[in-house]
């Protein structure tokens, strides 16, 4: 299958100071982002933070109020979409209903004047690449949602785009197909070597497929980093809370030290400088142990396969989510009195809310 695709390396894509306003809404606010050649960057953020807007600007389907977009050495900011050579996969189903799967994939090539033989050959190869070689003569309404998105991917790749843009291509699919297809998208992208921008609001999806993840908030990128860095060293409390599960534990900061749950830890960069705040602690950094005279009380114990999640109510009324391994979890039950301690060496402290 891999031989079907010509060996290419992607282009660098740079967004510089992009802004886009809709009336009073600042959909994008001076956004900077650089994608290295061949890299897959995921844009992750809550609904309405401007992800689609950013993607549409890159695709040329909308124009920025300010800023530049560079692909390779070319400034494409004001180039119309149909001249940009970008493959795009949309959130909603976008196959042309009057064309078969194969004709859909060949559409872009037909517009480029590729002759019929070459066109059909390429369309077949692309369909093979996404595992739908046997469905060439079907119409969109005869395909499942997952299959339609695969065809859309094949169609976007058939034109050998300089950049591949994916706008939540999996959000309409159920969880299982989603996980499968996202891995497949990643495999295909690596195989083709195209620079890709993948928009999603699903953090698991972003962390699983991307080389780097950009977390967006209110039209800006809060942090752009590798998935591990993003998870372990979030640059802001927005990122910390948006990516992965996070507890807020009341604490006190002074002189770069944090007092929390009876322990004194280091304060991470970006923390509140001093005063009372909330320490952001992941469930796996909280240890729960059954103990007489402990301050917490177990609310629920949920067995999730490899791990067990324990929900604990603290004396101040707040709830904490902790993670326990099999042996410890077996001894816990609802209403049990427990102690909760932090295993991390340093924490990020956010202003209390």
């Amino acid at each position: 299958m891999a031989t079907a695709v010509t060996e290419r390396t992607g282009l660098e894509v740079r967004l510089e100071g992009l802004s886009r306003h809709f009336g009073d809404v600042r959909a994008l606010d001076n956004l900077d982002l650089t994608l290295h050649p061949g890299e897959l960057v995921a844009l992750l953020g809550p609904s309405g933070c401007g992800k689609t807007t950013a993607l549409r600007l890159v695709a040329g389907l909308d124009e920025p109020d300010a800023g530049r977009i560079l692909v390779g050495d070319r400034d494409v900011t004001h180039m119309p979409a149909n001249k940009r050579d970008m493959g795009m996969v949309f959130q909603s189903y976008s196959l042309f209903p009057h064309l078969t799967t194969q004709e859909n994939v060949a559409f872009g090539l037909k517009l480029r004047g590729t002759d019929r033989g070459a066109r059909e050959k390429r369309a077949k190869e692309m369909l093979e690449l996404v595992g739908l070689g046997h469905q060439a003569n079907r119409y969109a309404n005869q395909l499942s949602g997952g299959q339609q998105q695969r065809v859309a991917l094949a169609r976007a790749l058939a034109i050998e785009p300089s950049v591949l843009l994916l706008d939540e291509p999996l959000s309409a699919l159920d969880a299982k197909v989603r996980a499968q297809l996202r891995d497949e998208i990643r495999r295909v992208q690596l195989e083709v070597g195209t620079t890709a921008l993948f928009v999603t609001h699903d953090q698991e999806e972003a962390l699983a497929v991307a080389d780097r993840v950009g977390v967006m908030n209110k039209g800006k990128i809060e942090q752009l980093a590798e998935p591990e860095t993003l998870y372990n060293q979030p640059a802001s409390h927005f990122v910390a809370e948006f990516v992965g599960l996070m507890n807020r534990v009341p604490c006190h900061v002074a002189d770069g030290r944090v007092e929390v749950l009876g322990a004194t830890l280091g304060a991470r960069e970006g923390s509140l400088p001093s005063g009372p705040g909330d320490a952001l602690v992941r469930p796996e950094q909280l240890e729960v142990a059954a103990a007489e005279g402990g301050s917490g009380r177990v609310i629920t114990v949920s067995f999730l396969g490899s791990i067990t999640r324990v929900r604990v109510r603290m004396p101040n009324g707040s709830e904490l989510l902790a993670q326990a391994s099999g042996a410890e979890a077996a001894r816990l039950a609802a209403d049990q009195v427990v102690t909760v301690s932090i295993t991390a060496a340093d924490v990020l402290v956010a202003p209390a809310d």
């Binding site: 979409a81 209903p97 517009l111």
Partner: protein
């Protein structure tokens, strides 16, 4: 054997249906059959196709029919060229204007034809001045006349597809605006387009008021005029127009049913035939 109330009800319903069907059938068929009978009658007994032959031999009638057919084609072309790009553009770029456009397109429906004619008569003085005195200049008036019906049909067709996503997809694959409309939008609203076109044809073939008052000789005007001298030929022409309109609507229904993957879209159907 006694029947349950339910069976009785079903039976009564069936009787009612058949009665209605027969009554309506007679209501529509009797005039048509009478027209056919009258148009082929020969004084003193026997049948003759002379009146029907006049459809092609009578120079006035023939030119009236040709004019109306040409007008129908031009109107359909004008309507499509005007409406399709506009409606697509409004959907994509200025959705706020959608209400205004709809209001404008439906306006001719609310104004009596007579009033419109009086209003556009001065405009036609200019049209004739620039484009000559051809009956085909009626195309402009007719495009306005068919606007409400074709708008409804096309609107239903466009609502059935995701115009925004399809055109975004096509553009990112390299299609310019013309290609987007011609190769992506149009094929996917084909049955709505057909429906809009057929309705327009039926309307134009039955149009009398505009042509008569603006002093052009289209089919209906000639039919009306002939009614005084050769009433049989006039009736034959009316019947032919009715049958043609009926066949168009039938075709429309069949086409709408046959197309797969796309909902059959039928516009509100105006009654084809004479107004005068």
């Amino acid at each position: 054997m006694s029947r349950t109330p339910r069976q009785q009800r079903a039976r009564r319903l069936r009787t009612f249906r058949i009665t209605v069907f027969v009554a309506l059938g007679l209501f529509f068929l009797v005039p048509l059959i009478s027209m056919a009978e009258y148009s082929t009658r020969v004084n003193g007994g026997g049948r003759s196709g002379a009146a029907w032959a006049a459809l092609v031999t009578d120079p006035d009638l023939r030119s009236g029919i040709l004019t109306s057919l040409e007008l129908a084609v031009l109107t359909v072309v004008g309507m499509i060229v005007l409406l399709v790009p506009t409606m697509v553009w409004v959907r994509l770029r200025v959705p706020k204007a959608a209400r205004t456009i709809e209001f404008l397109c439906l306006l001719p429906l609310t104004i009596p034809a007579l009033v419109i004619v009086v209003g556009i008569a001065p405009v036609y003085a200019w049209v004739t001045y620039f484009l000559g005195n051809s009956a085909l200049t009626l195309t402009f008036a007719y495009v306005v006349l068919v606007l409400p019906y074709s708008f409804r049909a096309l609107d239903a067709g466009l609502s059935g597809i995701d115009v925004q996503t399809l055109s975004d997809a096509a553009r990112s694959l390299g299609a310019g605006w013309f290609t987007v409309i011609a190769r992506v939008i149009v094929p996917n609203i084909a049955s709505a387009l057909l429906s809009a076109a057929f309705i327009s044809v039926a309307l134009v073939l039955g149009e009398y008021t505009f042509a008569s008052l603006l002093d052009f000789q289209n089919m209906q005007v000639v039919i009306d005029y002939l009614g005084k001298s050769n009433s049989q030929a006039s009736v034959a022409a009316s019947l032919a127009a009715l049958i043609f309109g009926f066949l168009l609507l039938l075709l429309l229904t069949l086409v709408g049913r046959r197309r797969r993957g796309e909902p059959a879209v039928l516009a509100p159907t105006p009654q084809p035939g004479q107004e005068g």
